[in-house]
Symmetry: C2
Subunit: 343 residues, 2 copies
DNA sequence: AAATTCACCGTGAACGTTCACGTGAATGGA
DNA sequence: TCCATTCACGTGAACGTTCACGGTGAATTT
């Protein structure tokens, strides 16, 4: 039950600690012969270096923190998947942390991660203020953030093209002839919320379709939140024929709200979501959405984090993730004669 | 950028390391007065104890590992949620690890977690053999496993009542008058696969409904796997009017397969899934399923792990999780006159 | 033959804590 | 007065590694 230490191996192989260390990390001068001998001793004793002890001196723990708002939103597991796949390849372990979109919790979690000694942190859509983030970045080294624009040497960004996502949705609605469109969005005023609405509304206005606060309703970025928000909005503004949702969960909630209100999709109400999570193609009618490569977000974030770890003083440009409109059954012509493009 | 150590605090407060340590962990003899003085010094310097250093001597890292097959299956995030909520309360951090149902990967992950020094490990449905698990448990202390029965002092079990789950599904099919029922199951022969089929088949046989290998088809426990398996099974055995799926993802895949084969649900084919993940009530028709309290699994697993940590020599009984049949739109009468009970 | 180089390997220190002691002062009772 | 007890705090060691040295013998050069 006692742990096998480097000294046990050293004794067994008849060498010193340092030689064992050299054999394991195959660096430094060591003959092939003794290296073999050490490594067989390692195998026989089942020795694995104690990471805490290593961390003490190397200042590296081989761990990173991944923090996001809600693991129940399928968007995040997909990203996490990408992060983990890259991490495991490099023998990194990753802490997953839910913030519940609560700044208090997020602060606590970040502190906890720092104390834990994680080598880096990836924050998917922080709900902290810019000031708090800058302050945090002052005390802590490599941070990757998505959908957030904070200018700090220790922070590298990965930005989803939210504006274009909103614009694509708006363009489609316009092309389909919709004149009265609404927005179901996150009650928390996040970066992505602002940018998605911005892209959406600006495009609508270009085509002279109205878009103001009266057609926007907010709620939690969940199924229930989308359901409630959609119900409120459609009750208040029954003339709406199209809805753009902050994310797919809200869109799915909105779909259920429509069903409950006896509004047919897409005949009476068209809906476009955001993220293109797996569910979109399972439900019926299937959901049109703005696709973003979630797995790739994870891969890119973790890869960049490793780069920052490898070259602490280098500066890295921020990266942008493209989006794409995926049309499914939840959107359809309102007036066929207005169909400018087929899709 | 340099870390504040316990010595810095000691110097600032004019005391020794040990006194600072006493103040922080408020144990041992220390006067209120100096404790105050130390704590203000701590606040001023922004000192946080280095966990790696603590771990070196206490043999506790304040971390646990949570390993499961696939984070993309919504079942696991819900469990993870429960684990994390309990963990955070006790200042624990949790590593999440995907095994992809690959024994090689799982072994590697377990090794990695041990080297990392996690205080305990929760394994949701291991895909390792009993021998490998016993061997691992010999070298490592507290382990919680779900859906696995391994008799070892270091392992505590949390068992979902799979047999009853299968029985409930079978009973319902029989009561609805189905005479030809099929099974879509996991290609990996896991404990839960065996028990679910066992409960299902035994109950069918009790009612003299046939149930043998010819009506079982296997696939990956995913949407795609369920889709493919259902298509194969329904092609081979077109007389089937009811399907019992290993989990909800496979069930949803099967639903899609039915749609593609122009089989109406539930008029022509009834389907029951397992787990009762959120999706079941979103899709249309909604999916009947065997419900198990996933969040509670996580809570119970983590709670028990903490108990084992607190009392390393105590023995704990294994726990069972109840199941419940939730009927939705995917199941309906075949022959109304056979309806023994209403539900 | 002496000096230099080189390949290989070992030794003390350090990382930041906590644990098991040790110590000195104050207090109490006989 | 003396000893025992209690309280408050400090000191050396230890946890298991790696780093920066230093050393040794053999090979090579001068």
């Amino acid at each position: 039950m006692k742990q096998v230490t480097i000294n046990d191996v050293a004794k067994a192989a008849g060498v010193s600690r340092q030689t064992v260390s050299r054999a394991m990390n195959d660096k430094g001068e060591i003959s092939e012969e003794t290296k073999e001998r050490v490594l067989t001793a390692v195998r026989e004793l089942g020795y694995r270096p104690n990471r805490m002890a290593q961390s003490m001196v190397t200042r590296r723990t081989g761990t990173v923190g991944l923090v996001f708002s809600d693991i129940l939103n399928p968007f995040f597991p997909e990203v996490a998947r990408g992060v983990q796949d890259v991490a495991r390849e490099q023998e990194y372990n990753v802490f997953l942390c839910n913030t519940d979109d609560d700044p208090k919790v997020e602060t606590q979690i970040l502190q906890s991660l720092v104390a834990q000694g994680v080598d880096g942190i990836i924050i998917l859509g922080s709900c902290l203020g810019a000031k708090a983030l800058l302050e945090f970045a002052d005390t802590y080294h490599p941070i990757i953030m998505t959908n957030r624009f904070v200018n700090h040497i220790n922070i590298n960004q990965l930005i989803v093209d939210n504006v274009r996502g909103g614009a694509l949705a708006a363009e489609h609605f316009v092309q389909q002839g919709h004149q009265h469109v609404g927005i179901i969005t996150n009650e928390n005023v996040s970066y992505s919320r602002v940018r998605r609405i911005q892209g959406f509304c600006n495009t609508l206005l270009q085509y002279e379709v109205a878009c103001d606060d009266s057609v926007i309703e907010s709620g939690a970025p969940t199924l229930a939140g989308g359901y409630a928000a959609a119900k409120r909005l459609l009750t208040r503004q029954p003339q709406l024929t199209a809805l753009f949702a902050y994310n797919d969960l809200m869109a799915l909630g909105a779909m259920r709200a429509c069903r409950d209100m006896n509004l047919n999709i897409p005949e009476q109400v068209s809906i476009i979501g955001f993220d293109d999570i797996h569910l979109t193609s399972i439900v019926s009618p299937s959901l049109s959405s703005i696709r973003v490569d979630k797995y790739m977000i994870g891969v890119k974030a973790m890869t960049r984090l490793l780069e920052m770890l490898a070259r602490p003083d280098a500066e890295f440009p921020w990266q942008e993730m493209p989006v794409e409109l995926v049309l499914r059954e939840s959107t359809r012509l309102v007036n066929p004669q207005n169909d400018l493009k087929s899709s």
